[in-house]
Point group: C2
Chain length 633, copies 2
């Protein structure tokens, strides 16, 4: 394996999304989520913090010390939303917010409203806990997104001023420092590549490399009284955490990482940067380390939904095969991070294995984190609930709502790619793409009903005939794949899980693909103790679940007959339109007895059928029990 970019993402304005599935999500983002989240930024004082830092109004800092990041992530999402077409209100909101950010930035580039308002003398003193660089990173990502979507450089200017400020303090010949919550690394790289500032990429690389070296950069902070006073946790807990290092992946230098450890979101953000850094570097040790960690994560520690990080205690990872369902933490942000890391990895390798993981998270464990209405959110994505887990309009720590919004806004980035000669289709997103293949302007139309059907068409229309490739990923779940090109017998080549069509394309040339999607029952490795005796229903990329609303009683009462009849049906009026799957099995008979403990075998069973819905769509009909892994076999 060699880490070298195989394709680039396609700028959003070049992709017109026209997809039965994703278009709805994008519409909801544009029409509801952006405004609903903006209203939360206002009502929770997140925007007021910028006004107060800018001395436009009086008042103390409100909320959590890293709340600026929510504003930046919202801005990133809002910028993407604009890429799909004009939206007066969103444009106005974006301009207003950028104005606040510009006003709050200090002369020297510093920008963090918590420190500006509360602790102007304590800047950069407590990198371990205080998220200053983390917030900065989200500013840079917002700037790049705003530039990509609108062409405007307003926010880029703020970002550059801030990054230059940070670069003036930290670096190889300056102060050694890296943020307790990774993010700035990937953001510096993104910004550096977008505006051709290789020094930013170098700074990010240095931060990634310094992390985990002993002594930890945080040890000095433990002895700094100013830093300690800022600590939101007990000093003792922080000391233990710093010593151990795993919580923020500071336990070992990047090349020595083996298992995925610590806080899940932090880990994802670190590895996105590390993966990018490996690009073309021929850094075998780094590549090996990334492979080890990726494999550990996706082969032993990932929920079937693409949820990651099972534990609340560290918002992160525990041990192999530890995947409890009802207490699954599986933070929305962590799965968004997995989509980003997997996509980055895919970009480096062109190997469909990474896209398989991206797809799993994209269609399940990420979008489960936002309601179909676009204004209800999960922080944690349980795989079992007895009605206690409910969506909320916002959280005190509200990292997830704008994170899922920015992912939806940039969905085509994770489905498509383009290189000099090739168009890459990782996921058949229904859309029209304006791009170039080997220098020839080419329009590509993907007609797709994914994930409701495995059939789709790719119509390639270059301005003039052009030689080049179209690469279509074959998903891991597809056992019987057929392709057809315009009534010819041409066969695809296969490379790393992609069907590769290398030919001369004439306008209107069409690939017809069929992945033969069909419902399938899966079981987990018996080492996953929480899934013993359980099965999970899938259909193509979608994981299904059973809700009480559909079963009429507690989903745990269903016992699937995995050999039994199974029926899939598209229901346009249910949950914004979903394919439901009805399975057969058994259920304990309710004989009206309330006796608590009886002789085994006393409780009768009866035949039962159960209608499953896609996991992402659960908890959109009020309080409700839900189960992904139903009893069965």
């Amino acid at each position: 394996m060699s880490f070298q970019t195989r394709f680039e993402t396609i700028p959003l304005p070049q992709v017109k999304v026209n997809d039965r599935f994703w278009s709805k999500w994008i519409e909801t983002l544009r029409n509801t989520t952006i405004k609903a989240e903006y209203d939360q930024l206002v009502s929770t004082g997140r925007l007021a913090n910028f006004k107060r830092a800018a001395k436009q109004e009086e008042g103390d800092f409100e909320g959590l010390y890293f709340n600026d990041s929510d504003v930046y992530k919202w801005l990133e999402a809002a910028a993407y939303a604009l890429a799909y077409g004009p939206h007066k209100e969103t444009e106005k909101l974006i301009d207003e917010v950028i104005g606040l950010i510009e006003a709050a930035q200090e002369q020297d580039g510093y920008l963090n409203t918590f420190f500006q308002i509360r602790h102007p003398q304590a800047k950069w003193r407590n990198l371990y806990m205080m998220h200053e660089m983390y917030c900065a990173g989200h500013l840079y990502e917002a700037a790049v997104a705003h530039h990509e979507a609108t062409g405007s450089k307003r926010l880029i200017d703020v970002a550059v001023k801030n990054a230059d400020h940070i670069a003036s303090i930290f670096g190889p010949d300056k102060r050694r420092g890296y943020c307790g919550h990774e993010e700035i690394e990937l953001a510096l790289i993104k910004l550096g590549k977008a505006i051709n500032r290789p020094d930013y990429v170098e700074l990010a690389k240095w931060m990634v490399e310094e992390r985990g070296k002993k002594p930890s950069a945080y040890e000095a902070e433990l002895k700094d009284e100013v830093a300690r006073k800022l600590n939101p946790w007990d000093d003792k807990d922080i000391e233990e955490n710093v010593k151990d290092g795993k919580y923020c992946q500071d336990h070992a230098p990047i090349r020595e990482h083996t298992d995925i450890v610590g806080h899940a979101v932090r880990a994802m953000y670190l590895y996105i940067a590390a993966t990018t850094i490996a690009d073309g570097a021929n850094d075998e040790a780094l590549e090996k380390s990334l492979v080890r960690v990726w494999d550990n994560l996706t082969k032993y520690r990932m929920y079937i939904t693409g949820g990651i990080g099972p534990a609340a205690s560290n918002e992160g990872f525990t041990t192999d095969f530890d995947l409890p369902n009802r207490s699954a933490y599986a933070e929305t942000c962590a799965s968004v991070g997995l989509v980003l890391w997997g996509s980055k990895y895919l970009q480096m390798t062109g190997n469909s294995d990474y896209a398989d993981v991206v797809e799993k998270a994209l269609f399940n464990g990420t979008i489960s984190g936002i309601s179909l209405s676009g204004d209800g959110f999960f922080y944690c994505n349980r795989l079992e609930s007895r009605g206690e887990h409910q969506r909320v309009p916002w959280m005190t720590c509200a990292c997830c709502p704008p994170n899922i919004a920015r992912m939806i806004g940039s969905v085509s980035h994770y489905c498509l790619g383009v290189s000099q000669s090739d168009l890459w289709i990782h996921i058949p997103l229904g859309c029209t793409i304006d791009t170039t293949i080997n220098g020839v302007k080419t329009n590509v139309e993907i007609k797709s009903d994914y994930p409701w059907s495995g059939k789709f068409e790719v119509v390639v229309t270059p301005e003039k005939p052009v030689a080049g490739g179209v690469r279509i990923r074959i998903p891991d779940w597809a056992t019987d794949v057929t392709f057809e090109i315009d009534n010819t017998d041409e066969e695809a080549d296969y490379e790393d899980g992609y069907a590769v069509f290398n030919r001369t394309w004439s306008p209107g040339d069409t690939i017809k693909a069929d992945f033969n999607m069909a419902p399938m029952w899966l079981q987990a490795n018996p080492k996953v103790l929480d899934d013993l005796g359980r099965v999970c229903l899938t259909n193509g990329p979608l994981v299904y679940c059973l809700e009480q609303k559909d079963f009429g009683k507690e989903p745990l009462l269903f016992m699937a007959d995995t050999e039994g009849e199974i029926k899939a049906a598209y229901e346009p009026n249910l949950l914004n339109g979903v394919v439901t799957i009805t399975a057969t099995g058994y259920s304990e008979k309710d004989d009206g007895s309330d006796e608590l403990y009886v002789e085994a075998g006393s409780v009768g069973q009866e035949e039962a059928s159960a209608k499953f819905v896609p996991y992402y769509s659960w908890c959109n009909r009020g309080p409700n029990s839900m189960l992904v892994w139903v009893r069965g076999l």
Copy 2:
């Protein structure tokens, strides 16, 4: 039903325990537990607090504000331990501790080292949180126990002085007040009955009656700045708790109680007092309320082990059929409380239903809380563990270790009873009893191998032939019971689940009983979602569990064949001697695959046998996974 005492417990010195099962527990109590817990009282400053209150030494109060109660409960246990025979060291320790208590007591009878050392001006200001009366109650119980076991009145004098002090402040014509943690009510009754002070019983009754009336007595405390400053929790949480009332059963007057609610230990202690108060009062409303609450507790909210109170959040009750296994709180103290309440209820009704519950808790969910070595403890008694739940020598909040010690020390109280004319055998404890039947001195010998066998003999030897009754409880688990008296054809009468032998007894008359104990698989009501598809192995009063140590792999991998062969065997060298039960079934085959998710049916199964051990004996061989409800059917 009418609540009137049917029998009295037999003073410990009149019962010589000679029981294969309980004698070991008592020996361990005498030889290990008493000293080990004393050492903890010393090393954690619990005894030093008394010295400091007595001004015998300098120093601040150490530990939690209710730590005095641990000293009193230890004293109660130590006093019981003495009843089985002289023990120089224990006698010395008891004398020393009583001396400290005497010295610490103030002139006016007040005694609570936390307030004496830290807040002498804030006494009795925060009854809701501060456990002053709770600690006093445990003092009284210790005093009565010490008196019963040794005949000494030293501690009774301290108790009376303290109770008189409390009675001078609180009462119908004085200040309205009752403790946030019930205990003093049952203790005042115990003390009052032991030394014939009906005014104490009346005070207790008043406290029980005042509880739950609106406004709560605690509402005034919420407005008292002195009281608020003492609060160990957030004021807001306390305000909400006081308003709701359920946490400490202050939600409604006792006669209006329906479901069991709130903190489990508090509830038990309240209902013990309330049950006693109903004695002969013909208080139909109170009796109905107690029946409702008892039924709700034992029919819908009790683990099969006699564990109660599933939730950590309130250390108590939730909803019907909510009985999670791995997170089972099931505090040792709560099950001890259940033994005490059930025994009190049994005493009032003579109905074996209550003894069935007592037996369940006595042989399972209580003694699971102490190691076989006598110096390792559980606070929570899980029904499932993956090795994370370990015994500890002591806790910061150490209510459980001395509580289980005092229960073991007084075990015959829960097995036997005597009335004017009848001997009651609730549980066939191997022992020799010196008592009187209708005024005739009678020696009763019970030869028993319970719970390892359902066969036992009762040899009745009055000084001279006497007419009277021997009542033997028929346990709920016994489906085929036979009795035989000295080769005659006499048949028993049956009353409320007891076999009643009413006859004239001559020396040596012997009842031979056989409960035909046999292993049995049980299942839970399907409403207990956590037990769906699961079965539990029992043998007579014992609940069994499967430990990894015996199965060789994770117990969750076992699937019981409840129709399969099953073998019971006594293993003298295992776990202090236990009957093990080996069952057959299936297990997922380990084919070496690490693949996380595979097509359902891919994982093979193989035959397996699994050796179960009694639940109480689990976690006595190091870190270990354990399961009560194994997969099956």
